[in-house]
């Protein structure tokens, strides 16, 4: 029999209790499993709503935040039940479970925010921004010029398109991955490799400290 303990989250307004052994409660058919499924879904909706609330300013007026949160929680529930055997107890079960709802909600908000928007994947002309003082302008201009030169000379056209979309146009990594028909991992790897190459160029030119000089 599964022992039910007190609710261990900040969610209020429900009488549902959380099992002390979530994996067992969710694995053995019966009333405890039904109660655990119900409670888990409540927690996932709560987590998804928190993520949607954090990103609310990205949503346009027509987007229904509750729909996004509920869909994210439903998708998370399916993922969690499918991966239950992989939970190793390295964290609280609820912390492990929340991350599925949070990621699903975040991805949905980003997709919604960029729905119907073009993602410019061009090779831009980089302009150095003016700084408020002549000294800052001179320092910033030198670094910006060195960076623009490194971007043009060191990065491949594919890397340039990716870094400009992510870092200047602020296209979210998962939206960009979806538009390119690839994965978030692959896009982030391209960004990472580009940064490594740019930092090496800037370090060699004296604009960044070498590792031994870093604090």
């Amino acid at each position: 029999m599964t022992i039910l303990g007190p609710v261990s989250t900040g969610t209020s307004g429900t009488a549902a209790q959380a099992p002390t052994d979530w994996v067992r409660a969710l694995s053995v058919p019966g009333p405890e499993k039904e109660a655990a499924l119900f409670r888990l879904h409540e927690l996932l909706v709560h987590a998804a709503r928190r993520q949607v609330a954090r990103m609310r300013e990205q949503l346009r007026g027509t987007a229904d935040a509750d729909d996004i949160a509920n869909q994210a929680a439903d998708d998370a529930m399916v993922a969690i039940l499918g991966k239950l055997h992989t939970f190793e107890g390295r964290s609280r079960f609820t912390t492990w479970a929340y991350k599925f709802a949070i990621m699903n909600a975040a991805v949905q908000v980003r997709r919604q925010a960029w729905r119907g928007c073009d993602v410019p994947l061009d090779d831009p002309d980089l302009i150095v921004e003016r700084a408020p003082t002549p000294e800052a302008y001179a320092q910033g201009r030198d670094l910006a010029t060195a960076l623009a030169t490194a971007i043009a000379a060191t990065l491949t056209p594919h890397q340039r398109r990716i870094v400009v979309a992510l870092l200047i146009d602020e296209v979210p990594v998962d939206v960009l991955a979806e538009r390119l028909g690839t994965s978030r991992n692959a896009v982030y790897k391209t960004l990472h490799d580009a940064r490594v190459a740019l930092r090496a160029d800037l370090r060699a030119a004296g604009y960044l400290p070498t590792p031994s000089e870093s604090p």
Binding site: R50, Q51, R54, R184, R195
Partner: protein, 91 residues
């Protein structure tokens, strides 16, 4: 050819130190343990996780919510680790 401005903030984004390498999938796999351990010990760190969260705004944005929820569950004040979170979320 379109034009883009290299502002100080844009330059910071380009030069973020994302080493040592960690993928988004590996970050997702480890983030729950990372958050709980950080809440239990504010001095706890994982260089690869920290580097990834500095470099990946999406993962940092998601981790911020997870930290908030996990802190409430644990009855722990997340304040000691929030300064680090602020830096990551600029990624």
């Amino acid at each position: 050819m379109t034009e883009r401005r290299l502002t100080p903030e844009i330059i910071r984004r380009f030069t973020v130190d994302g080493e040592p390498w960690l993928s988004c999938d590996d970050c997702f796999a480890r983030v729950d343990e990372y958050v709980d351990r950080m809440l239990a010990d504010p001095d706890y760190d994982s260089p690869a996780m920290s580097a990834h969260l500095r470099g990946c705004g999406a993962c940092a944005e998601e981790m911020a919510t997870l930290l908030d929820l996990a802190a409430r569950d644990a009855g722990v004040d997340p304040q000691p680790v929030l300064p680090r979170l602020g830096r990551w979320c600029q990624g």
